[in-house]
């Protein structure tokens, strides 16, 4: 039994409850599912160019080595705040790509050990943050918004505060 095994019941439970409630109200469940799903397909098609655009930018930035270079250049600034320099690539890539962030974390966990300070901090940061830039552009793009005002800035600022809080919580709980 892993601590998260009960979550395996969430989705089956939701589907079962939805279908039973629908049938009791004599909802034509399959017809309604298809009607809703058709809307999902239309939306999903609109997302394809948005996602490909982000993937090209993030992939090029990472695979060219520019990510590692920027992380190295920014290290002194963030070391001042108390972040271990190894964690920087994760901070930089996390808002843009979940897949890339997972790759960076897997490397960090392997290299430093999952129970080292770097390993713990990386896990806490991953668990407490979102792919903000990716999600914000996807959400705004999905309804065709071009003028996003300060929306993206606010989300990225939230990431920064989340990282600082993760550093603080990890230090207090695991270094004491």
């Amino acid at each position: 039994m892993t601590p998260l095994s009960w979550t395996a019941w969430i989705l089956p439970g939701l589907v079962a409850v939805t279908l039973v409630a629908g049938l009791r109200r004599r909802v034509p469940v399959y017809d309604e599912f298809v009607a809703g799903a058709a809307e999902g397909v239309r939306l999903g098609l609109r997302l394809i160019p948005l996602i490909i655009g982000i993937y090209i930018a993030v992939g090029l930035f990472r695979e060219s080595g520019a990510l590692a270079w920027v992380a190295q250049a920014a290290a002194p600034v963030l070391a001042y705040a108390g972040f271990p320099p190894e964690i920087l690539p994760l901070m930089l890539i996390r808002p843009f790509s979940n897949a890339a962030a997972m790759g960076v974390i897997a490397e960090l966990l392997q290299e430093h050990g999952p129970d080292s300070f770097v390993g713990l901090l990386a896990s806490v940061m991953q668990g407490s943050s979102e792919t903000t830039f990716y999600v914000a552009t996807l959400y705004l793009g999905s309804v065709g918004i071009r003028r996003s005002l300060h929306a993206v800035h606010l989300c990225l600022l939230g990431d920064l505060v989340g990282y600082l809080a993760a550093l603080w919580a990890t230090s207090v709980l695991f270094l004491a």
Binding site: G40, I48, A57, A99, G113, S128, V143
Partner: protein, 193 residues
């Protein structure tokens, strides 16, 4: 902002590859990344299709109304400009619930649904609304009680206690959420929204 960051990442990649004497990498990277982006997008399309279908059945079954009534008192103060009983509130509630439980698969479809409903209330369709900004901020800095991905990665790496990070992750994400909501409240006030 989005346009600048996007271009900056690509240009940095090209310049860095060129400096390293490896411009050829750019061409392969662009197309291999486009291909993996397409795979991800098609996967997401399938997930969205399932959730949109299910949530329509749930709506017809009256389940979403019950949920909306339950969660409305919590969301109303955060979204004063959304009319009472508007479907966007239900989608926002579902998105937050999925985020809190670490169900990333479900969070995105509900988030997109929320944006679609919020766009219906938008008098200027090309410009973001205050409610959308609050929602984006809340969605991106949402308190997470079950960081499933991080715990799974730790288990895979052979951690002694993979789930030990749940507490600090909840504290960090909660702090970030509080912070963005306060800043959002403050910007709403100063910009006269």
């Amino acid at each position: 902002m989005v346009n600048t960051i996007w271009a900056a990442m690509i240009l940095a990649g090209i310049v860095y590859a060129a400096v390293q004497g490896n411009v050829g990498l750019v061409t392969t990277a662009i197309f291999s990344q486009a291909a993996s982006g397409l795979t991800v997008a098609l996967n997401l399309l399938a997930i969205i299709t399932v959730w949109f279908g299910l949530s329509r059945v749930a709506a017809r079954a009256g389940l979403l109304d019950a949920l909306a009534r339950l969660i409305a008192p919590v969301l109303r103060p955060l979204f004063p400009d959304i009319p009472r009983g508007h479907p966007s509130l239900t989608a926002i509630a579902l998105n937050i619930a999925a985020n809190v439980l670490g169900l990333a698969n479900a969070a995105t479809p509900f988030g997109l649904q929320a944006m679609k409903e919020l766009q219906r209330l938008n008098p200027r369709p090309d410009t973001v609304t205050p409610a959308m900004i609050t929602f984006l901020a809340l969605n991106s800095a949402c308190a997470t009680l079950l960081p499933a991905t991080a715990v799974a990665l730790r288990a895979q790496a052979g951690a002694r206690e993979p789930a030990i990070i749940i507490g600090p992750a909840a504290i960090a994400s909660g702090a970030a959420m509080l912070f963005v909501l306060l800043v959002d409240r403050w910007t709403r006030r100063t910009s006269g929204w």
